[in-house]
Amino acid sequence: MADNAATAAAAPGMPQLDPSSFPNQIFWLVVTLVAIYFILSRVALPRIASVLAERQGTLTNDLAAAEDLKRKAVEAEAAYNKALADARNEANKIAEETRAAIQADLNDAIARADAEIAAKATESEARIGEIRAGAVQSIEEVARAIAGDIAAAVAPGTSIDADAVAAAVSARVKG
């Protein structure tokens, strides 16, 4: 084997065409390729393949979960709307019932008040009648007394017949 400097001098053009370095390059190339091949096939490729598969799985799962959640959201919205409508119906019903109950109470109270008023009115009527009768009687008495007094003043010394005066006053008042 020739000295390296000598071969370099002998082949000043292209070191690529110097066959003395070929075995060396080929040997180290084969070593390199085998090393890279084993690094890749034993470590790197299975690892990357598993990472990619895992990512695909995660994506699929996440998409499925998202689909599921979306469906649930739609269901929840429907349930919410249904509950809202139910509640509204219920509220209407309750309002209606309450209104009817209040109306009934009101009617009842009005009837009772009317009856009470009627009772009070008849009672008052009776009292007014009594009072009027009392007043007529008092007027008669007063008129009798005044008539007796007037008769005594007009004809002093005469005896006055009380019964005649009373009869005359009664006739007049009735008149």
Binding site: S21, L33, V43, L45
Partner: protein, 293 residues
């Protein structure tokens, strides 16, 4: 004044918040800055600063022993060993360290690794079909090796392992031989129908068969020369422009701008060549699995 003070405070709290996460990447950043500074100082003492044109664009492709100055035996640890080892480290860093978290929501490095995985896997599936997936680990190996070697080769003063025909020809021959053997194992003698274009007129078929046969055997050549040629040419051009920059003195700014532009192009070429090599591997694999036109 109080505004700037407040802003400073906000930045301080932010940096303490993100310290745990970005600490490692900050260390890497400073190491890279340090490397660049060292390389710059080394560059000042390099031969480029000497007057006159002494550009040696092919020197960067020399295979040299790492220790001593002896002959290069097949087992000698050389700069090939170093830079191939670094590309193993780069692949391991991306594909093993990067995916350490196994997170469902990936970190940045993990999503890079997943991106590379998905990219090559989809390529194999789309081009060669579902039954080619058992060969996906090897195709991915080749893709990541070429990609990392190409990108590592873009570091200044590095050694580009994929710029050597010995390397790319080995890769291409491995593909060619395994695909040919696979074709015969899977399809038996009917694999030869790959060369018999049944849709062409009968008269033309023998001629086409010869052309198909030649093109089939040229495949490993084009497959390997494309990659090594692209890498070698790009790096040589970069070196030539850098040499001009050193020789021109103050006017060297023009070739330096050229170097920047070509470097950008080379970044593109590095990725594209890895892609091309891989997709051609898939195409050849498809021919082996489904030889009937």
């Amino acid at each position: 004044m109080p505004q700037t003070k407040r802003r400073g405070k906000a930045v301080a709290t932010e940096s303490t918040n993100t310290q745990g996460k970005s600490g490692a990447s900050r260390i890497v950043f400073f190491v890279l800055i340090g490397l660049a500074a060292i390389l710059f100082v080394l560059g000042l003492t390099d031969s480029y600063t000497q007057p006159g044109f002494n550009i040696k664009p092919m020197e960067q492709f020399l295979v040299e022993p790492l220790f001593g100055n002896g002959p290069v035996q097949w087992y000698t640890p050389t700069n090939v060993t170093l830079w191939m080892g670094l590309s193993i480290a780069a692949v391991a860093a991306l594909m093993v360290m990067g995916t350490k978290g196994r997170a469902v929501i990936p970190s940045r490095s993990q999503s890079m690794a997943e991106l590379a995985y998905g990219f090559v896997r989809k390529m194999v599936e789309d081009v060669a079909g579902k039954d080619a997936l058992p060969y996906f680990p090897y195709i991915f190996t080749v893709f990541l090796f070429i990609l990392s070697a190409n990108f590592l080769g873009l570091i200044p003063t590095s050694f580009t392992t994929t710029s050597h025909f010995a390397v790319t020809a080995t890769l291409a021959l491995a593909v060619f031989l395994s695909v040919t053997i696979l074709g015969f194992v899977k399809n038996g003698a009917s694999f030869l129908s790959l060369f018999w274009v049944s849709s062409a007129p009968l008269v033309l078929r023998p001629v086409l068969a010869i052309i198909e046969l030649i093109s089939y055997f040229v495949r490993p050549v084009s497959h390997s020369v494309r990659l090594a040629g692209a890498m070698m040419a790009g790096h040589a051009v970069l070196k030539v422009f850098a040499g001009f920059a050193g020789a021109l003195g103050a006017a060297g700014i023009v070739p330096i701008l050229g170097v920047v532009a070509i470097y950008g192009l080379e970044v593109l070429v590095s990725a594209i060549q890895a892609y091309v090599f891989t997709i051609l591997t898939c195409v050849y694999l498809k021919d082996a699995l489904h030889p009937h036109h």
